[in-house]
């Protein structure tokens, strides 16, 4: 039985598909969801969502959100979500630089948590963007 997945953000419906496996970055750790998963409701950390359908993997970068799992369907309410091919690599790199610099500068009035979150989001996008370049690389979790 395939798993129905909907990924939506406030601005648009990003993706709706039937897949075999969903990998998602939960706040409590990486989640792998197969059909007949027990009902689950969790927050998502910035990171990468992988959808496996047949032998093909689809990658999306999300910057946090919510995940609802029912036995036959998965709903991702993402703050933002981009497919690998939509990400502008140069801009993602720039954003990572900026976030890194800000974090390193430790200047007054800097919100440490916010800067860290920005850096994490930028890293997630870069990570997913690079998937597009070498699709043959197996999924590794780090």
């Amino acid at each position: 039985m395939p798993l129905k997945i909907d990924i939506v953000t406030a601005e648009r419906a990003v993706l709706s598909d039937e897949v075999d496996l969903v990998l998602a970055p939960g706040v409590e750790g990486q989640l792998g969801i197969l059909p007949h998963h027990t009902p689950l409701m969790t927050m998502l950390a910035p990171g990468e969502i992988v959808l496996r359908k047949g032998g093909d993997d689809t990658y999306l970068a999300i910057s946090g959100g919510f995940l609802e799992v029912r036995p036959d369907r998965v709903v991702v309410l993402a703050d933002t979500a981009e497919r690998a091919e939509e990400i502008d690599l140069a801009r993602a790199e720039e954003a990572r630089q900026r976030a890194g610099d800000r974090l390193a500068s430790r200047e007054a009035g800097m919100d440490l948590l916010k800067s860290e979150a920005a850096l994490r989001r930028a890293l997630a996008r870069l990570h997913v963007a690079q998937r597009r370049r070498r699709p043959e690389k197996p999924i590794s979790r780090d």
Binding site: T9, E11, R12, A13, V27, E28, M41, M43
Partner: protein, 287 residues
């Protein structure tokens, strides 16, 4: 005899007004299309978040709801807040006056004090004109606000509610029905009442990290989403109303142009006839 030069001047001004309204109509038409698409694009998220909240609250016993999150807490109504969403600019037909009429009826119907948060210049001006207390105002949202631009609005409202400064919050905005119809609506924004949502299945969920934390994160998002949708609909309504208003104006300009041209031609003919009469008269007198 009407002065031909004056008529000519009027024709020219009517024509140039017609050109301006035609241009505005076309600008509004293209913006309307995009605004409508955006308003529609926001729907799936809204539907999904409703389902999720319905499912969540079904999983939590109703007696605990108030304790679980302040935004769910239903209190006796002693103060009401309205979030009035209007447009920044005019020239969009009766859109703003309709919404403001609904708002003023709303204020008068309330038996308790009403405070206002205004989004859009027209609504703010209305509140100021009639001495309504305005807690916060947001203008210049632009044509395509993102969820991030909306967040401060939702924050003001939710904070006031959570801290007990108000016991009920209503959203008043022009709902976008179609290009020719926009309905002013009054909708309750807070407290969130998940029982109003389509019934969720009663499923036993595992929550990570835990139920009240997830709900606590979801509810503010939900409120933001409601405000976001209302603002998107307002923008779609604004552009539609402006397009229709400007089309009417262009049509009127065309009619007026025709009428004036007729008057002008009559005047011209009359002038020629009179000149001819003068010449013939003079000739007869000379003979």
């Amino acid at each position: 005899m009407p002065n031909t030069r004056l008529i000519k001047r009027r024709i020219r001004s009517v024509q140039s007004i017609g050109k301006v309204t035609k241009a505005m109509e076309m600008v509004a038409a293209s913006r309307m299309k995009r605004a409508q698409e955006r308003a529609l694009a926001a729907r799936p998220y809204d539907e999904k978040i409703r389902q999720v909240i319905a499912n969540l609250s079904a999983a939590i016993p109703p007696s605990q709801e108030g304790a679980i999150h302040p935004l769910l807490e239903v209190r006796p109504v002693q103060r009401v807040q309205m979030l009035l969403i209007t447009t920044d600019r005019g020239l969009c037909g009766a859109l703003n006056s309709n919404i403001i009429r609904v708002a003023s009826n709303f204020i008068m119907e309330q038996e308790v004090p009403v405070s206002a948060v205004a989004v859009g210049r027209k609504g703010r001006d209305f509140c100021k004109r009639c001495g309504q207390q305005v807690l916060a105002e947001f203008t210049d949202m632009g044509d395509r606000p993102g969820l991030l631009d909306i967040a401060p609005i939702a924050k003001v409202v939710t904070e006031d509610y959570a801290s007990g400064k108000t016991d009920r919050v209503y959203l008043i905005y022009p709902q976008f029905v179609s290009t020719v119809t926009q309905n002013p609506v009054v909708r309750q924004l807070l407290p969130v009442e998940p029982t109003e949502f389509p019934a969720g299945q009663n499923v036993e969920y595992i929550f990570e990290p835990n139920a009240s934390y997830v709900l606590g994160q979801l509810l503010p998002r939900f409120v933001e989403m409601q405000v976001y949708r209302a603002i998107l609909e307002t923008i779609a309504s604004e552009q539609s109303a402006r397009m229709v208003a400007m089309r009417n104006a262009t049509d009127s300009a065309k009619d007026l142009f025709k009428e004036l041209t007729l008057v002008f031609n009559k005047a011209r003919q009359e002038a020629i006839t009179n000149e001819l009469l003068d010449m013939i008269g003079t000739k007869i007198a000379l003979e």
